[in-house]
């Protein structure tokens, strides 16, 4: 039983990262039904910016994270302006190709600049265990990752529901044409979505590699993106709350179902892909998404 509880805790802390990247994916999908396949690489790059700010510029860790989030938001906004906006948002093919190009380019640049050897990431949260429950250790890391996603979810909800730019973003997500007809400039509004997504992704990777058991390297999000995509699809690609629950669920599947079924750890990725397939087969709009998915 203690082992079971332990696995739940582990699953939750893994799931938190998937949830954050999934939220980033959802921010872009909500507005344009586009999946940014470079979202994981954006986040990895942001993680390196945070690392540089903290270790080379000597910023306190949390300041480094916040500045890193801002820098990646600005970079993403620039990418949206130059590489995404020139294309018709309804025509997905060129946009997907651009995001794949970004995937390759960003991964390569990170490899060239920072090399492929893993680097230790400074601690973001207090280390050690917060408490023992029935023999299972609940680490501070797990506690704080959970707090982080709640804070992010709360922050995004406030941003979307209580600010003018949030209102514009929701309007654009609902209907492009009607949004233009109330004076909303669609381009800058979508750019806002890209910026927020990048910032959230950077936070996600920072939290992920802040675990004492992980390090930062350019490949860190290559499979992480798959988990996040499955999480987002499970939650419903346009639901932020769904992304959180989807992320945690995928984290739990990975840490509970996989070992209990006696399958090797390699298969946790397969579990995520199977979840994705099942969702598409039986509930394409996910658990909490808007059922607007068109069948051919």
């Amino acid at each position: 039983m203690d082992l079971f509880l332990q696995r739940i805790f582990d699953g939750l802390s893994n799931g938190a990262t998937y949830a954050l990247i999934a939220m980033a994916l959802v921010m872009i999908f909500k507005a344009t039904t586009l999946i940014n396949f470079a979202q994981g690489e954006f986040a990895m790059f942001g993680g390196f910016i945070v690392l540089v700010l903290a270790t080379e510029q000597g910023l306190p860790m949390w300041i480094a994270v916040i500045v890193g989030m801002l820098i990646s938001a600005v970079l993403a906004a620039g990418i949206e302006r130059t590489l995404i906006r020139p294309f018709d948002p309804a025509d997905h093919l060129p946009l997907v190709i651009i995001t794949l190009g970004l995937f390759l380019a960003i991964n390569a640049i990170a490899g060239i600049v920072w090399r492929f050897d893993p680097r230790a990431f400074p601690e973001l949260f207090p280390s050690g265990k917060a408490m023992s429950i029935a023999g299972a250790t609940l680490s501070w890391y797990t506690v704080f990752t959970m707090i982080t996603i709640l804070v992010v979810a709360g922050g995004l909800t406030l941003l979307l529901n209580k600010t003018k730019v949030g209102l514009a973003f929701r309007a654009v997500s609902s209907n492009l044409e009607s949004s233009e007809l109330v004076g909303i400039k669609v381009g800058p509004t979508l750019q806002f979505g890209w910026a927020i997504a990048a910032a959230v992704g950077t936070l996600g990777v920072s939290v992920f590699v802040a675990s004492p058991f992980r390090q930062l390297e350019p490949q860190v999000m290559v499979t992480g993106l798959i988990f996040a995509v499955s999480a987002a699809a499970l939650g419903g690609l346009d639901s932020l709350g769904g992304a959180i629950l989807g992320g945690l669920a995928i984290g739990l599947v990975q840490s509970i179902a996989v070992p209990y079924l006696g399958v090797p750890t390699e298969l946790s990725l397969l579990a995520a892909v199977v979840v994705l397939l099942l969702v598409l087969l039986f509930k394409p709009s996910g658990l909490f998404g808007t059922p607007q998915v068109e069948r051919v």
């Binding site: 309007a171 997500s173 209907n175 044409e177 009607s178 949004s179 007809l181 109330v182 004076g183 909303i184």
Partner: protein, 237 residues
């Protein structure tokens, strides 16, 4: 001529290679209700979309003496044009209240909440359901919400595209009465596209009839309603 709020000359527009409008001339004076009539596919919607900057167009379009022929939709809203598109011009996933709030997107004054409250007073249905998704309202309620949303930008010119479409006759009659009220009370100038000629001409000052993207007839509403050719073609009598 200074009382011409909207003055359009030789308007051409279309979709890609397809030319739909072949040089339309029309105008709307300040405070007027003008109606554009025409059969399905005549180019009425295209005309409104061209005026409000939703599609590319050529020709001269002046709003209160200033050329707006190259302005895009979001800028035209700031210039005082509000467009209620054909179909439901609401944002279905947003709440009723947010629909009104987003209508005031271009405004920065502090009377927005008061204006929203006024609409809730005027149309209690909207007030009662202010937290529900706009998509859950009935067709007539959504059309009214779309109009209210457009008026939240405090426009000088309101473009209405077939507001009667898909609504029961009794609701349509009520809706048009309200348009006339709004025109009188707020002084909002209106350009209304309709197929329901009888009703539209009933509240309009003047009217135009387009056919295949060209101007077919024009005149005071009272004259059009009695013109035999038009009665046969568009009033179904």
């Amino acid at each position: 001529m200074t009382d011409r709020l909207l003055d359009v000359k030789n308007l051409h527009a279309g979709y890609g290679p397809i030319a739909v409008l072949h040089g339309l001339d029309f105008h709307v004076s300040e405070g007027e209700i003008v109606v554009i009539l025409g059969a399905n596919g005549a180019g009425k919607t295209t005309t409104l979309r061209a005026v409000s900057g939703m599609i590319d167009r050529t020709g001269s379009i002046e709003l209160a003496g200033k050329s707006i022929a190259s302005a895009k939709a979001p800028d035209l809203v700031r210039a005082g044009v509000a467009h209620v598109p054909q179909g439901r011009g609401t944002l279905p996933e947003l709440s009723v209240e947010d629909n009104l709030r987003v209508g005031a997107y271009i405004r920065n004054d502090n009377e927005i909440d008061a204006d929203i409250e006024q609409w809730f007073q005027a149309y209690p249905v909207l007030g009662e359901r202010k937290n529900q998704r706009a998509g859950s309202l009935s067709g007539g309620e959504q059309q009214m919400l779309a109009v209210a949303r457009a008026l939240m930008s405090r426009p000088t010119l309101l473009l209405l595209d077939e507001p009667s479409l898909g609504l029961a006759p009794i609701i349509v009659a009520d809706l048009f009465e309200r348009f006339a009220e709004i025109n009188k009370e707020l002084g909002t100038t209106m350009l209304v596209v309709e197929q329901n000629a009888q009703l539209a001409l009933g509240i309009a000052d003047r009217g135009y009839v387009i056919e295949s993207g060209e101007m077919f007839a024009e005149g005071p509403a009272g004259e059009l309603i009695n013109d035999d050719a038009i009665r046969r073609a568009y009033l179904g009598v």
